[in-house]
């Protein structure tokens, strides 16, 4: 028999995994280009709506919609990168904040216009519903699935960054952008590709998130805070940092809400400010 703390831990880890998928792209783009992209969750929202529409209106199986949500968010990011982001790579952080807040505002209004402000419920396949009992505790199947997906994503990302040519280019650009340019790496193109990949992952996260946290037009802002917290606590440009920060934030959020419900979301803000006071560059950040 396991004490309930393991249940809280399990839920926290599953939630952290979701946060990781949502935020890892932002962490890499921030580390790569120092681009403060507050519209990151708008891309997640695109993925979420693609999944919701395909499942509910076209009767696609849930699992088949996830790659599409990845592709849709990635494609949208390529267009926006060409139109707006590219011109502000070397601007101040304030300009980047303003542009991306503007994009996020627009995404909220557009989503409200097309899909109303209601929650979009989706039907998950039967093998992801319910829970498995193990040593006296219930483990929700969907959360297990979430953990598996996030682990696969993590492994693919780490392998891709460590062992491919593109990964080496990304690492070189994050570590020393000037030197990478000097060696003939097209940093802007690397960034555009990484950006598309990161936004695609956010889209995948958006699709996965519907069953846990729901989906409405305010998604673009509601989750932004969590994602930014994960990124800044983990340290810019660090996948391992994002991973551990997402776990830390996920577990402390769920534990905070479980053990001290009267303090609500206070716990994670406290964790964030404490970590940043202690290490301004985040747990794994270099700069």
């Amino acid at each position: 028999m396991l004490p309930p703390v393991f249940g809280v831990l399990f839920d926290g880890i599953a939630y952290g995994m979701l946060l990781f998928v949502l935020s890892v792209g932002l962490s890499v783009t921030l580390g790569l280009m120092n681009f403060v992209n507050l519209a990151h969750c708008a891309f997640a929202m695109i993925g979420g709506y693609v999944t919701a529409i395909l499942v509910n209106s076209y009767g696609w199986p849930f699992l088949a919609t996830l790659p599409i949500s990845f592709l849709a968010a990635g494609a949208a990011s390529v267009v926006l990168e060409r139109l707006f982001y590219r011109r502000l790579y070397r601007s101040t952080d304030l300009d980047q904040v303003l542009l991306t807040i503007g994009l996020a505002f627009i995404s909220v209004a557009v989503a409200a216009y097309f899909f109303t402000t209601n929650q979009q419920p989706i039907e998950t396949p039967s093998f992801l519903r319910g829970s498995i009992e193990f040593l006296g505790l219930n483990f929700a199947r969907y959360r297990l699935f979430l953990i598996v997906v996030a682990l696969i994503v993590t492994i693919l990302l780490v392998l891709g960054l460590e062992y491919t040519r593109f990964g080496a280019m990304v690492r070189a650009s994050v570590d020393n952008q000037r030197m990478a340019r000097g060696l003939g790496i097209d940093v802007d193109r690397t960034f555009a590709l990484t950006f598309a990949l990161g936004c695609g992952l956010a889209g995948l996260g958006g699709g996965l998130a519907i069953d846990i946290v729901g989906l409405d037009p305010n998604f673009a802002f509601n989750f932004l805070v969590f994602v930014l917290i994960v990124v800044s606590v983990g340290g810019l440009g660090s996948i391992a940092g994002s991973f551990f920060a997402a776990m830390l934030i996920g577990v402390s959020d769920i534990a905070g809400k479980y053990y001290f419900p009267e303090y609500g979301a206070f716990m994670i803000y406290f964790v964030m400010v404490a970590v940043l006071m202690w290490k301004p560059t985040g747990l794994f950040g270099k700069r």
Binding site: D93, V97, V108, A109, A112, S232, L276, T281
Partner: protein, 329 residues
């Protein structure tokens, strides 16, 4: 003139900056126009004056010192709740309530300034965002004190000087908030045209060089941040007193984002940027939200993108650029 041969010393330059331009006098006289032209919109005018004061306080830290804050509404909200609670638990005299709101916002600003002064860039944005969200969460959860999401109930403000009542028409409200805005403006104008103001601009332009030439950067930022918090607290307190209520909205992220938009729209780092931006923003919101309130933020988003892409220094920056080109011809 003899002045042309005289070398421009910093003192002389500052004194030149202090001189009142005729356009400024026109601007402040025109703030009296709503009394005669739009007597039905005086409560909106009062809201504009309050928001302009809030934008002015953000301008001091963002426009002059270069400290980007995404949580400035924390101090606005602390001032708003402070003044409201003061009127409930102590007495309803407006001036002491106003001072109390500014005081506790200033204390909160002074405490958090020690954190803020250490950081810059993304970390700073995150820290200020976190402080703002924590303040919101405290106001939300301390239900017994603040009324949570229902807002603060039972705010009763006595008449100004014991004579002028805060009524529905907004004559008193607008006079009160306009007077406060003008006094705050004079104070900020004096601050930015002082050696201290120059030091703040130096910090904005080069964060690492200012300490190297002997300026105590953290102390300057702390001071500016505390002053800005006091001003934001005053603005919040006036909002509570003129509307006789304090809502959770006054401490929300939305308010922090709105004021940032206004300031940037008008032109950050210019005294009138926040004032012009707040006026345009509030009037546009009043007009647009009558048509389709839920899509108001669509237009704000478009506006933000246009400003960032085409008018990097806001409306006032664009106007002064055009004026400078016209002068050169």
């Amino acid at each position: 003139m003899a002045t042309s041969t005289q070398p421009v010393t910093p003192q002389l330059w500052l004194r030149q900056q202090c001189r009142w331009h005729p356009l400024e006098i026109v601007f402040w006289l025109s703030t009296l126009l709503p009394f005669f032209l739009f007597p039905n919109y005086l409560s909106l005018a009062s809201q504009i004056a309050i928001t302009a004061m809030f934008a002015l306080s953000l301008d001091l830290i963002l426009g002059y010192a270069g400290v980007v804050s995404l949580g400035h509404a924390a101090f606005f909200g602390i001032g708003a709740y402070g003044a409201g609670l003061f009127s409930i638990h102590v007495w309803g005299e407006p001036f002491t309530g106003l001072l109390f709101g500014g005081l506790i916002a200033g204390i909160a600003g002074y405490i958090t300034s020690f954190i803020v002064a250490r950081f810059r860039h993304l970390t700073l944005i995150m820290i200020t965002l976190g402080i703002g969200l924590m303040a919101h969460e405290i106001a939300n959860k301390a239900h017994s004190l603040t009324g949570g999401s229902d807002g603060l109930q039972g705010v009763k403000i006595q008449p100004l000087f014991g004579v002028f009542k805060f009524d529905l028409y907004g004559y008193v409200a607008y006079s009160y908030s306009l007077a406060a805005l003008f006094i705050a403006f004079l104070a900020v104008r004096r601050i930015v045209n002082s050696p201290f103001g120059l030091a703040l601009r130096g910090i904005r332009e080069n964060w690492t060089r200012m300490p190297a030439i002997g300026a105590d950067r953290p102390a300057h930022i702390r001071k500016a941040y505390t002053i800005a918090a006091v001003l934001a607290g005053f603005a919040g307190a006036i909002l509570t007193q003129t509307t006789q209520s304090a809502a959770l909205e006054s401490i929300s992220f939305g308010r922090s984002a709105d004021v940032l938009v206004m300031l940037v729209l008008g032109g950050a780092g210019r005294l009138y940027g926040g004032l012009i931006g707040a006026t345009i923003f509030m009037v546009a919101r009043d007009q647009f939200s009558g048509i389709a309130p839920q899509y108001w933020y669509f237009w704000i988003g478009v506006l933000l993108i246009v400003v960032v892409m085409f008018m990097p220094n806001g409306i006032l920056g664009g106007l002064s650029y055009i004026y400078a080109r016209w002068r050169r011809k």
